[in-house]
């Protein structure tokens, strides 16, 4: 709602000077910053996973995080989903503070964000339909009928309209992941976080899920933050690709540039190893 007040908040000289922050990316006139991490540090014991990280994502953009495992990509998604808390720094979503913030505010801001997990994490004790309607009914206050209509539409979108009354365990991995995507979208989030969503799938099921996500990326204005090892997929859907190494963004840019002619030696090494 406070769209007018938005742009004036963070884009001050002080923040733009922060190192080689990828925040500088497209960011042209008319684009509105939706997510901003400033000086975010996350440690697990002695290990620093994220080291004073700065980056921002504009509304409607599709950003892919790539890099070797353990480089902190997934941690960023988990921080945004409030599954873990940073040790230092601030996280802002849609102009509102997500961290540090009082519990109540954190809960409100979190509703703007949805997440799809590597292991699907569907609720095995509920039918497919209940999986999708549970949160819209209890969190958004939709009536059961409204929520079911919405769920059926989404199941249609993900190609599983006939699986309403089935338990998740009776579905293939690819089908489960498509239900999980529908479940996340049912909350109408502004941001969709995708955490290696095809890594746990049998190879022949990967394409279906990626095609679905391509569709969603193309046909909606949802902002996507994606951690993936599927470089072709990253190339197809991304507006911007961030290369991570050891808790820092070492290079960022549009996919043509990053996949075609990367500046950084480490990026080149990584890409030649995975492509």
């Amino acid at each position: 709602m406070p769209a007018d007040a938005e742009p004036s908040i963070p884009k001050t000289a002080a923040t733009t000077s922060t190192v080689d922050s990828p925040a500088g990316g497209p960011g042209g006139p008319g684009s509105r910053e939706l997510i901003r991490l400033e000086q975010v540090t996350k440690r697990f014991g002695d290990h620093t996973v994220l080291d004073r990280l700065d980056f921002s994502v504009d509304t409607g953009k599709h950003v892919t995080l790539i890099g070797p495992s353990g480089s902190g990509k997934t941690t960023i998604l988990r921080l945004l989903m409030t599954l873990t808390k940073p040790d230092e720094g601030t996280i802002t979503v849609d102009g509102e503070r997500l961290f540090p913030a009082p519990e109540q505010q954190c809960r409100e801001v979190r509703k703007k964000i949805g997440m799809v997990f590597q292991q699907f994490n569907l609720f095995p004790n509920m039918t497919v339909l209940r999986n999708i309607t549970e949160a819209p009914v209890t969190v958004l206050g939709l009536s059961r009928d409204e929520a079911e209509d919405r769920a059926r539409e989404l199941l249609d979108l993900v190609g599983l309209a006939d699986k309403c009354d089935v338990r998740p365990t009776q579905l293939s991995g690819g089908q489960q992941q498509r239900v999980a995507i529908a479940r996340a979208l049912a909350m109408r989030p502004q941001v969709l976080l995708l955490d290696e969503v095809t890594s746990a799938l049998d190879p022949e099921l990967v394409a279906g899920v990626l095609d679905l996500l391509r569709d969603i990326a193309r046909s909606t204005d949802i902002t996507m933050l994606c951690v993936t090892h599927e470089m072709n997929f990253a190339r197809d859907i991304s507006d911007q690709v961030l290369m991570f190494d050891s808790g820092r963004v070492i290079e960022s840019g549009p996919p043509e540039k990053l996949f075609g002619d990367p500046d950084h030696e480490r990026t080149r090494e990584f890409l030649s190893a995975v492509l």
Binding site: L83, G114, M115, F117, Q119, F123, N125, A135, T138, V139
Partner: protein
């Protein structure tokens, strides 16, 4: 061994009463153990130390003292403080309280066994904590622990003769009373022993079937 079928005939009506009392104590005791154990298990996950700490102290204390002592305490000591309970009520509460400290551990394991991803999915959907427990975690945890809870019901059945010591005339209590009146101990004791097998064995078969069903 002396065996007199007519003695058996004399004992059977009393035995019938005993069976009913045993089953009553078992069912009510189990209900208390199931409910109270869940309360303990949830309280032990409270973020508040003032909740966690006393609950841990109470459950450890109860689990590590004999049921018989607890029964005597409730029956003979509590009246000193103005709380007088009937023998059967004492037995039910004693059994229930004692076994609730075991079911609490069962629930704890069941709750811990729900994958972290379920909590994370609930957070990602912004489900409130209470709803996460009620709709996601507990249904999965309870399913896992049903067989283990059943095993404790069988254990409770086998501990139920302890209620005899505070004067509850359950199966064994009836047998002993009958024996000390008639000096015929053989028949009633054998009948009671068989009765325990006839209740416990089918129950454990039922549990195994349930376990297989739930494992699917």
């Amino acid at each position: 061994m002396n065996w007199d079928w007519s003695t058996l005939g004399d004992f059977l009506p009393l035995f019938g009463h005993g069976v009913l009392v045993t089953l009553q104590a078992l069912v009510l005791g189990a209900l208390i153990a199931f409910a109270l154990g869940l309360v303990w298990a949830l309280a032990q996950r409270s973020p508040l130390k003032v909740v966690r700490w006393p609950v841990t102290a109470v459950t450890e204390f109860v689990r590590n003292t004999p049921l018989l002592v607890q029964l005597f305490f409730i029956f003979y000591v509590l009246p000193e403080w103005g709380l007088t309970l009937s023998a059967l009520a004492t037995g039910v509460i004693g059994l229930g309280l004692h076994y609730s400290t075991y079911t609490a551990e069962v629930y704890r394991a069941g709750i811990d066994g729900v994958p972290a991803g379920q909590w994370e999915a609930a957070t990602a959907l912004s489900l409130p904590r209470s709803r996460t427990w009620a709709a996601v975690i507990l249904p999965q945890a309870l399913r896992r622990v049903t067989p283990a809870l059943g095993n404790y019901v069988i254990a409770m059945l086998k501990d139920s003769p302890m209620l005899m010591t505070i004067g509850v005339l359950e199966m064994l209590g009836q047998a002993r009373q009958f024996g000390s009146r008639t000096f015929q101990m053989n028949e009633p004791i054998v009948v009671v022993g068989i009765a325990f097998v006839l209740i416990a064995y089918p129950a454990s078969l039922l549990l195994r079937a349930l376990e297989r069903r739930l494992a699917r």
